[in-house]
């Protein structure tokens, strides 16, 4: 199955896994940084929100690496597009278009709603697929196993509900 991006074939999962592992290990071995993305959402909030929570030590000390790293994620996506047939803005959303079929405004609302769950949920759980799913599991941390089982369960139930029950 091709990617939505420029109809590409994805790279093999072993290569992708190795690439992710390399970044994770480079961050720790090179800079004593624990891979994590969702804390970056709080870093971004800290730029505009005054609550003490966003100015606690973990944010003030971590922002200096996470903000450039997250900017890098955007850059990486951009390079991926440019180097594979070009960058074009798109509304294309794969099977969502054929099964759910909301237009641009609907998609923006849908995505905002999804984002709310992601932002609130990852911070309540203190981690996401990177912090818990990759680093936490690889470090044999029990809270991360609990987190991973829970977020997979949440995702499976929701997708099954959407694509097997509501829109089928």
């Amino acid at each position: 199955m091709t990617l939505i991006l420029n109809g590409l074939q994805p790279i093999h999962w072993t290569l992708a896994g190795a690439g992710i592992a390399a970044v994770t290990l480079a961050l720790l071995f090179g800079a004593n940084r624990r891979l994590g993305i969702s804390t970056g959402l709080e870093d971004m909030c800290s730029l505009v929100l005054p609550q003490p929570y966003f100015h606690r030590g973990a944010i003030r000390s971590g922002r200096e690496w996470r903000l450039p790293f997250l900017a890098g994620l955007v850059l990486g996506g951009f390079l991926s597009a440019v180097l594979s047939g070009g960058w074009t803005p798109t509304w294309s959303l794969g099977m969502f278009d054929s099964v759910i079929g909301l237009g641009p405004v609907g998609k923006l609302v849908w995505m905002f709603a999804g984002g709310l769950f992601i932002g609130f949920g990852t911070r309540l759980a203190n981690g996401c697929t990177s912090g818990h799913g990759i680093f936490g599991l690889a470090n044999f941390e029990l809270p991360s196993l609990v987190a991973a089982v829970s977020f997979m369960a949440g995702g499976i139930l929701t997708t099954q509900l959407i694509y097997r029950v509501v829109f089928h």
């Binding site: 592992a21 390079l79 099977m95 932002g119 759980a125």
Partner: protein
């Protein structure tokens, strides 16, 4: 140091983009048990990272000789509830936090709304932290100048 993080992030973002981790169809495929790709990616990442983490922590020092200190994440009631909520959002958006940013870079316009929602959700969490702290057994917020 900052260029290092930008470069590592760009490499990570490129891999996420090309692997399907940022692709709506591949995420749904994972949750529908129709696509192995994402299970393979996460499984391979964990299996390869684990011995590396063990070796680095056993050595106890970074490449430049600074002490390695991995801060462990505590188990709270938020771990389960928050993760389930995150999973719901991951399914709805077809992306998790890293892929939201990758997709913005790729030009997927709707990913901007996902980011806006994620920031709003994180902002809401932070604003409510004092009220959520006890019910969810979250770490107590210390003074702004120290720790969590």
């Amino acid at each position: 140091m900052r260029p290092l993080y930008l470069v590592l992030g760009a490499f990570f973002g490129f891999v996420l983009s090309r692997s399907g981790a940022a692709d709506y169809n591949y995420i749904q495929g994972m949750f529908l048990f129709e696509r192995f790709q994402l299970y393979g990616i996460m499984g391979a990442a964990v299996v390869i990272t684990a011995p590396g983490l063990w070796l680095i922590q056993r050595r106890g020092r970074t490449a430049l000789g600074a002490p390695v200190q991995v801060e462990l994440k505590p188990m709270t009631r938020g771990t389960v509830v928050g993760s389930v909520l995150f999973g719901v959002g991951w399914s709805i958006a077809g992306m998790c936090p890293g892929p939201i940013l990758v997709n913005i870079g790729e030009g997927k316009i709707y990913a901007l709304a996902a980011l806006a929602g994620a920031l709003a959700g994180a902002g809401l969490f932070g604003a409510l932290y004092a009220r959520l702290q006890r019910p969810f057994d979250l770490p107590v917020l210390k003074a702004a100048s120290t720790g969590k």
